[in-house]
Each structure stands twice: as C-alpha cells, then as structure tokens.
C-alpha cells in the first residue's frame, strides 16, 4: 500500500507542475471533448435537464389521456402527428409514452443526470484531487451516454414508435414484434441505447471508485470524507455489480428477438398461431431484470442521500448526527439491496416460502433507511436552520422519503402485495420515494453547488417559489394515487372508462392530471432561474454557504486543476459546525488543530 501511495503523490505533484505551464485549451478541448471533470459534470447536468423536460412532457401527454378520457386531442396533432387518430391518442402510443417516460426518468435523468453530474463534479473537488483518475475514460463515459441518448431519442420518431413494453421490458411482450408495434424497431433501439448506457455507466463507475480509493489528498482518510463521497462510492460499486446483469439480460433478449432462441419464450400463441419457441422462462428475465432493478433504485437514491446529508449539515450549522451510522446505513442498504429483488415478483407464482424470505429481507431494509431519516431529523433538531433553496429541497427530500418509504413497508408484505401489485399504489410508492425524492436531491444539489459550477448564485426567491410549487404538486399528484391503488385501479391501462367500478374515480384522475400539469409548469421557473443565473446571477464568493468541505477552498470559479497552488491538506472531518469555543460557526477541513486551540476537544489536543 505504501508504495502505491508514494507513486501517486509523485504523480499528483507531476500533474501539478504540468498544470503551471499548461497550454491554453482550444474551444473543442475545453467545452466539447473536455477531459476536465467539471466540464463533464456540466455536460451531464445539461443533458440530464434536457431529458427531464422530455420525460416530463411525455408524462403530461399520458396524464391528459388519463385525466380526460373522453376528450379529443386534436390540438396535439401538430406534435404527435399520426399518433392522434380522430382526436384520440393511439393506445399503443400511450404504452410507448409510459415506457419512454419510465426509461428516461430512471436511467437517463436520475442515474446519468444525477450521479453523472455530482459524482463527476464533487469527487475530485471534495477529495482534493486535480481531476478524475482517468479523464479520458470520463470523457468517453459522457460521449457514450450521449450516443445512447441520441439512439433512444430517435426511437421516438420512427414509424412503429418507441419501445412500449414498460420500462421493465418484460418478455414475451418485448420479445415479439408481432405482439405490439413498439416491440419492433423501437425495442431494438431501446436495447442498443441501454447497452451503450451500461458501458457508459461502467466506465464512469470504475473511474469514481479508483479516484476515491487512490486520489485523496493528504490527511483525507476514508472516515474524513464527506458523506456525499461515501454515497457516490457505494453507488458506483452497486452500479458495477448490477449493470452487467442487465446487460446479460438484454443480450439474451436480443438473441430471443433476433436469433430465434427461446431463453424467455415458451408455448406462445399469437392470433391462434403457435410459436415454435419452447422451454424458455419469462420469469427468468424478471429475476435478471430485478437483480439489477432493485439495486438500481438505490443507485438513484443514494447520491441524493449524500447530497442531502451535506446540505442539511451545512444549513443547520450543526455536525451531521451519527456520521458513522450514516456510513454504516449506506453500506447496509447497499448490501441488502442485492438480496431483495424478488419483492417485485411476489405474484409470479413463486414458492410462498421463498416469498416470505424475500419479505423478511425486504423489511430489514427499512432499518438502515430509518436510521438515515432519524439522523437527518436529529441534525435539523435545534439547528440554526438557514432556509436556502437547497435546504428546502433537502428537507422536502426527507419528507418525501418518509412518505414513500412507509408505503414500501406495506408493499413489502407479500400478502398485501397480492392486492396492491401493479396498481397505482405501487406507482405512488415509487414516485414519492424514488422519483420525487431523487429529483429533490438533484435540485438540492444544483441550488447548493451552482455557485461552484458557474461562479454565480441562483436566485433564492425564485428557488423558494419553485420549491413550494413543486412540493405541493408532488403531494397533490401522488397522494390520491394511493387511494386509486387500494381500490384496485391498475397501472398502465390506457382506458378505464369501460370498468363501471372505476368510473367514480374520474374526478380524482382529472385532479391528478391538473396537479401534474401545475407541477410540470413550475419546472420552467427553475429552468429560467438556472439559465438566467448562469449569465446574470449575482457573483458568488468562494465559500458562499460558509461550508467546511474542500471544494469551497478553491477560487470562486475553479480552473483546470482546481487549486491554483498546491492541493490543500486535510486535518479534520467535514462537519465541525458551531463547535463550542470556536471563533466562527464553521471550521474548514483544511484548518489544523493547532490553530483552533480554543475549541479542541480533549482527544484533539494531542493532534495540535
């Protein structure tokens, strides 16, 4: 170990010297094929935001259909063209919309947009590194992601429409082009996009992990790292273990679709014709998919948890409550997330005993989750809370995570899930706990780190308006869905007016749709604020939030190499806020104990 450390220090030093007489980068090197982690982070952020608006727009389209099932949508013809027939949304296109919405949001926004932005931006800055371990791989990771984005985006415009088998692409529906139009070329493009996406994630993940292990500055031991870094670290590990499984599932699906194998197909009749495939098992796909799929939901939420922990501590002006417990619970969640996947499959006819095993394991996850919630609330407790926009989103995150987590415990009971599976209850659960919460984590991150990204501040008032509208809209949209779900209202149905029982929910559906439109509109406030502030925002100081972590010791707008001089060394953990006896209410990590004699605790005296 010691030998590697030495060589790394040399390398860092070397990079530093190089930096001093670095040639000016040209436009392409600087902004397009950049290898600078900050630029790559911004590229991920911009692409993520673009995807979020596309994904959100698709959801508004299908909410229109659900909210006003009898209405005619001729006014959508200019956008949707042939998908509107006689003023009616084409049912298969409805399914395609739902599928693309899910795929875009889960993978392209909340995985790539969230991890891609903040892991790239914060890992080197908070660890005290000049850049990622491999800038080239990092650049490759973004551009492969971009390519994947293009493939998925173009699939929206082909004549048979994009993939339509749901974001989980279960076969046999997704395997048989005869079954539904979207399983033709659209599905092929989905699979290509996903394969590229996975490659991009693996490249990124390897980079995050190596950087965190190898490029920490002097004094930055693993237990002095901010919780954000811990979250990114474990997220990357989850991704590295989980995504290859999705790749293998996709590969088998590709074989089934294009090479006539029957991994997932057996005894199928289409239009009275028997297919030749025998011996396959569609359940096998579900196992493979959810073995990725469940860790994936934590890949989405853990970076948000990290960002929120950091923002809550900073803006409560208090040390995070239970730093080690926070790390422990992240590790606990990571490990458990690999052994609970079958809770998505309670109704696939699995052995009830197996079901109870998975139920037991699933419910255990509630423990580390609750530890985290408890610690966030304890950190807020009697803090000097500053309600910045970032802080409001962080608190909103905690609220949504609790609301959505509680319904998770209900769904985790295999007997209750028989009633609730594939109803709007599930939709409500995961949109609160994953969708909305992760989005709030992302907003919290953008508002908080915007000054470091662009050297300017975002407008706090607009931020507050954005927060309240979004927060209220999210609850107005998803709370009623619980009732729909308990009543048995199924998800992914294009039209429910044919069912007498569900007609009483017409008003509720209209209400949900109106709230969704309200929530979506509110995002344009954010978009305006974001773009306006990049050019016209108030100039930021180097450390506008009086925060302790390393990124705030860089200049207001850090250049290539992050620190103009030497990389600072680290002496203490990142959460010395409001320490009794200290001159100010924060002590950055770079301040040695010898300079803070008045506030040192007994065991810190030795370190002076």
């Amino acid at each position: 170990m010691s030998s590697t450390d030495i060589s790394i220090n040399e390398e860092v030093h070397h990079a530093h010297e190089e930096h001093d007489h670095h040639h000016e980068q040209n436009f392409i090197e600087k902004y397009i094929f950049s290898q600078d982690h900050k630029t790559i982070a911004k590229q991920f952020l911009f692409t993520g935001i673009a995807w979020a608006f596309i994904g959100g727009f698709l959801s508004i389209l299908f909410r229109l259909q659900l909210g006003w099932p009898e209405a005619t949508f001729t006014f959508l013809e200019p956008i949707l063209g042939g998908w509107i027939e006689n003023g009616k949304l084409n049912p298969e296109f409805y399914l395609a919309l739902v599928t693309m919405h899910g795929t875009i949001m889960v993978f392209f926004v909340l995985t790539a947009g969230l991890s891609g932005t903040f892991s790239n931006f914060l890992i080197p800055l908070q660890l005290g590194a000049r850049d990622m371990a491999s800038g080239f791989m990092n650049m490759l990771s973004f551009w492969i992601f971009f390519l994947s984005s293009i493939v998925l985006f173009s699939s929206l415009f082909i004549s048979t429409g994009p993939a339509a088998g749901g974001w989980t692409v279960y076969p046999p529906l997704s395997a048989l082009p005869e079954a539904i139009q979207g399983s033709g070329d659209g599905m092929t493009m989905w699979l290509i996009a996903m394969a590229l996406f996975i490659v991009s994630q693996l490249l990124g993940g390897v980079n995050y992990i190596t950087t965190i292990i190898n490029l920490r500055t002097k004094g930055m031991s693993m237990t002095k790292m901010p919780l954000t870094i811990w979250a990114f670290f474990l997220t990357a590990i989850l991704g590295l273990l989980a995504f290859p499984v999705l790749l293998s599932a996709s590969l088998l699906l590709i074989f089934d679709r294009s090479f006539g194998t029957s991994f997932f197909l057996s005894d199928i009749y289409i239009a009275g014709q028997a297919l030749t495939n025998t011996g396959g098992s569609p359940i096998l796909f579900q196992h493979l998919f959810w073995f990725l799929g469940h860790p994936e939901v934590y890949i989405v939420i853990m970076p948000a948890m990290g960002l929120v922990s950091e923002v809550i501590a900073t803006n409560s002006r208090k040390p995070i409550f239970g730093y080690r417990a926070m790390i422990g619970s992240l590790i606990g969640i990571s490990v458990l997330s690999f052994v609970v996947w079958a809770h998505h499959m309670f109704v696939t006819g699995m052995n009830p005993f197996l079901g109870s095993v998975f139920m037991f394991l699933t419910l255990i996850i509630a423990v580390p989750s609750a530890v985290k919630v408890f610690n966030w609330i304890a950190t807020l407790w009697r803090g000097n809370i500053r309600f910045t926009a970032a802080m409001m989103f962080a608190i909103g995150f905690v609220s949504l995570f609790i609301s959505g987590g509680l319904t998770g415990i209900i769904l985790g009971n295999s007997s209750l899930d028989i009633q609730l599976h594939d109803t709007y209850f599930v939709v409500a659960h995961f949109h609160l706990v994953m969708g909305a919460a992760a989005f709030f984590g992302m907003f919290c991150g953008v508002y908080h780190w915007f000054p470091k990204m662009f050297g300017r501040m975002m407008d706090e008032k607009l931020g507050a308006v954005h927060f309240w509208l979004t927060f209220i809209a999210v609850y107005l949209v998803f709370m009623p869905m619980h009732y729909l779900g308990i009543a048995g209202f199924p998800r992914r149905y294009y039209n429910w007016t044919g069912f007498e029982t569900f007609n009483i929910f017409t008003d509720m559906n209209t209400f949900i749709s109106i709230s969704a439109i309200l929530g979506f509109s509110a995002q344009f406030i954010f978009l305006f604020n974001f773009i306006y502030s990049i050019y016209r925002g108030r100039r930021a100081s180097a450390n506008p939030w009086h925060s302790n972590t390393l990124e705030w010791t860089t200049p207001a707008l850090p250049g290539h190499g992050n620190w103009p001089g030497e990389i600072p060394a680290v002496y203490r953990w990142p959460y010395d806020y409001s320490k009794p006896g200290a001159a100010e209410d924060y002590i950055p990590q770079t301040v040695p104990f010898s300079q803070t004699a008045s506030s040192n605790l007994p065991h810190e005296r030795e370190l002076e």
């Binding site: 693996l202 790749l247 293998s248 029957s262 991994f263 098992s281 493979l288 073995f291």
Partner: protein, 163 residues
C-alpha cells in the same frame, strides 16, 4: 481488468435454469489447452521479470498459439453440437443448448480480446519493450489471461455438474 471483473459477473448470473444436454467431448481437450496456455503465460511473465527475453518471446508465442487452438477447439465443439441437432436458435432449439452457446460465445468473445492483448504484448516484446522495468502491461495481461482460464475452468466444471 475491470471489464473482466464485470464480465465474470455477466457470465455467472446467467446460471439460470437449464435442461439436459450432452457436452461435446472436445471441451475436455480445450480445457487442457487453456490450462497449458495459462502455464506458458506465467512462464512468459517470469521470464520478463528475469529479463530473459528469448524465453519471453517463445512463451508469449506459445500462449498465442494455444489460445487460438482453444478457440478452434470451441468452434469444433459448436460444430459437434450442431451435428447432434442442438442449435443456437430457430425451430427445435431449446434454452439449454442456447445457454451453452451463449456461455461459450461470451467467453470466446472475451478470449478474443485477451488474445489481442497477448498479441500486443508479444509485438512490444519483439521491440524489447517488455522487461523487468516495464512489467505493467504483461502483468495486466497475465492476470487477464489467468482470469479467462479460470473462468473457463469454472464454466466447464459448472456445465459438467449441471448438464
């Protein structure tokens, strides 16, 4: 190396459910071949460490040849399967057979990447660029090659037990 890591995972997860099939006997020969190639690779590595450049080149060449022999052998294995009416896809194929194709195919694909790697190292050894002070490349290559060998061994034993 990391690609190798993850691919191990891919292959391992694909251990799903399969039905009966007869393994082609040539797979046993191939197994022996790949083990031998691992030995020669290790010898090449040791030779490089001792700056024994002559041996290094021969051993790398032997590894290359054995690796190609393995691939050819696998190809014959597939031909054998086809003769016994076990197909990858189409009518009459069943997943147990397809799985065999996928496992060997994915492994074969990685083996090809491994061979390319060995070839690169071999070429640079011809230019005297691999020696005790420049071990990184051959070290990575050796690790990757052993990994591929071990992976095959694992697959083979796995198939034997579960066929």
């Amino acid at each position: 190396m990391f690609a190798a890591f993850t691919s191990a995972y891919i292959v391992r997860r694909e251990e799903g459910n399969w039905l009966e099939f007869d393994l082609p006997s040539i797979l046993l020969v191939n197994t022996a071949v790949i083990i031998l190639s691992s030995v020669s690779m290790q010898l090449a590595h040791n030779a490089a460490k001792k700056d024994n450049l002559g041996t290094l080149k021969t051993m790398l060449l032997i590894t290359l040849v054995l690796g190609i022999a393995f691939l050819v052998g696998q190809w014959y294995g597939w031909a054998d399967l086809v003769q016994h009416n076990i197909y990858f896809g189409g009518t009459g194929s069943n997943p147990s057979g397809s799985f065999l194709y996928v496992l060997t195919g994915v492994h074969g694909f990685h083996l090809i990447t491994g061979l390319i790697f060995v070839l690169i190292v071999f070429l640079s050894s011809l230019k005297y660029k691999v020696h005790s002070k420049n071990m990184l490349r051959i070290q990575l290559c050796t690790v990757y090659w052993h990994f591929l060998g071990g992976l095959w061994l694992y697959l083979y034993i796995f198939l034997r037990i579960n066929h």
